[in-house]
Assembly symmetry: C2
Amino acid sequence: MATIKKNGRSRLDRGTLTRSSIIEAALRIMDESGESKLTFARLGQQLGSSPSAMYRHFSNRDEIIEALGDDLIRISLDGYAPSASWEDSLWDLAVRAWRTYELHPAVASQTYFRVTRGPHELKAVDAILQALSAAGLSEDEAVTHYHLFAMTVLAQSADHAAKLAAMKAVEVDPTGRWEQVYVPRDPHEAPYYWAVRDKLRSRDDYALYRTQIELVIESVRRAVAREVGAVERQES
Amino acid sequence: MATIKKNGRSRLDRGTLTRSSIIEAALRIMDESGESKLTFARLGQQLGSSPSAMYRHFSNRDEIIEALGDDLIRISLDGYAPSASWEDSLWDLAVRAWRTYELHPAVASQTYFRVTRGPHELKAVDAILQALSAAGLSEDEAVTHYHLFAMTVLAQSADHAAKLAAMKAVEVDPTGRWEQVYVPRDPHEAPYYWAVRDKLRSRDDYALYRTQIELVIESVRRAVAREVGAVERQES
DNA sequence: TCCTTAAGTCAATAGCGTTCACTACGTGAC
DNA sequence: GTCACGTAGTGAACGCTATTGACTTAAGGA
């Protein structure tokens, strides 16, 4: 891999570094150490190259993060195929996003709100629209519910990912701050809180996520019923 | 304010800097220039002090951001009082969060996922629980729907804020990247997308937000009805 | 075979958060 | 009144960061 040059210094062969090998290393670094640890120096270490070699493949750090965002969509959709039932398709897409974001929380929290304009983003949009079309929605309702579904999936999965990333970041710095959560000083200050303070602690983000997806799908069902009803009224 | 010392150099009077004056300056900087521009040097400029003077009031940069988070909740709840209708109360809280996050997108996108453990966070939790209690929910259902409501409000408002913050950051750097959004190469590559590509562009995040809040409130109504029904069945 | 292109390297720069020893002001004890 | 102490504000470091430009040299076409 590395060639020894005349002057005694080693240097990577031409073509050793590629966009995808850099993204792969960047993903590994982010997963293991968090967003702030993704530096050019670390990338250089991981790849056995000079830090500034990255600039031959990406014009700046932000472009690397953007590429990571599209890669996350690629990972998420890997092997996806529409189900017979449109509801199953939406569930599949929703769960895939959650799982992927959970596996790569640092990347997820840094990229979810970006429009990557990469090839995989388009596939994801198309997959959602296909499911909504299969449900029987008109184009207008499909667009509305596409936004509703995508917004719910991305925002909630990213919210969960951001918390995971923040917790991981604190874990390394062992101050134990995340245990003191929700400890008020005086009962009368927040009586409603006080009454349920023990129950508040246990929180299953994934169960809440599923509830929200169910609400969105229920909304799709109602929209389909409305449109079917409208057509029937028109025909009678 | 600044005293001239014997040696000819000026120095701020003792007590000029406070946590709240620093937070105020930090909020202004973030609003005007975005998250990455909040530096100790800039804070020093704004306040006419040495950059390192901040360390007498905050132990590091992260603690400043955390304090900004609690301040955002304070701003959001300023003047809030429960309405006669629990639905109005929830709507009020939801709209307040959205508006505040929209006014301070850089701060919002950096703080929404944190637990500030500040005094105002507790008030917000209590206000939501109060509304759900007024709706007639049991403690268990109130806790569940508290999480559902809070997760929806925070994640969606923050998602919107993150986009605003990202757009602002790009605005300064005028590459015009945000106009190329959603432009595919080949119709057959993403046929469902292609069919509605024009309709996809116009997107009203706030309208979608209101739809989601409506879905959550509808879910509360159904839970209330379920519980009323359960009690009546038990009595008969 | 030579010559152009571009991938990888290295050194330099400016800006960042953070630390530390230092200075001098305001306060409480006497 | 005055004296000592605690502490707010200072300024000079430190090590790390992204980014740039000049360089070397491998690869590939003419």
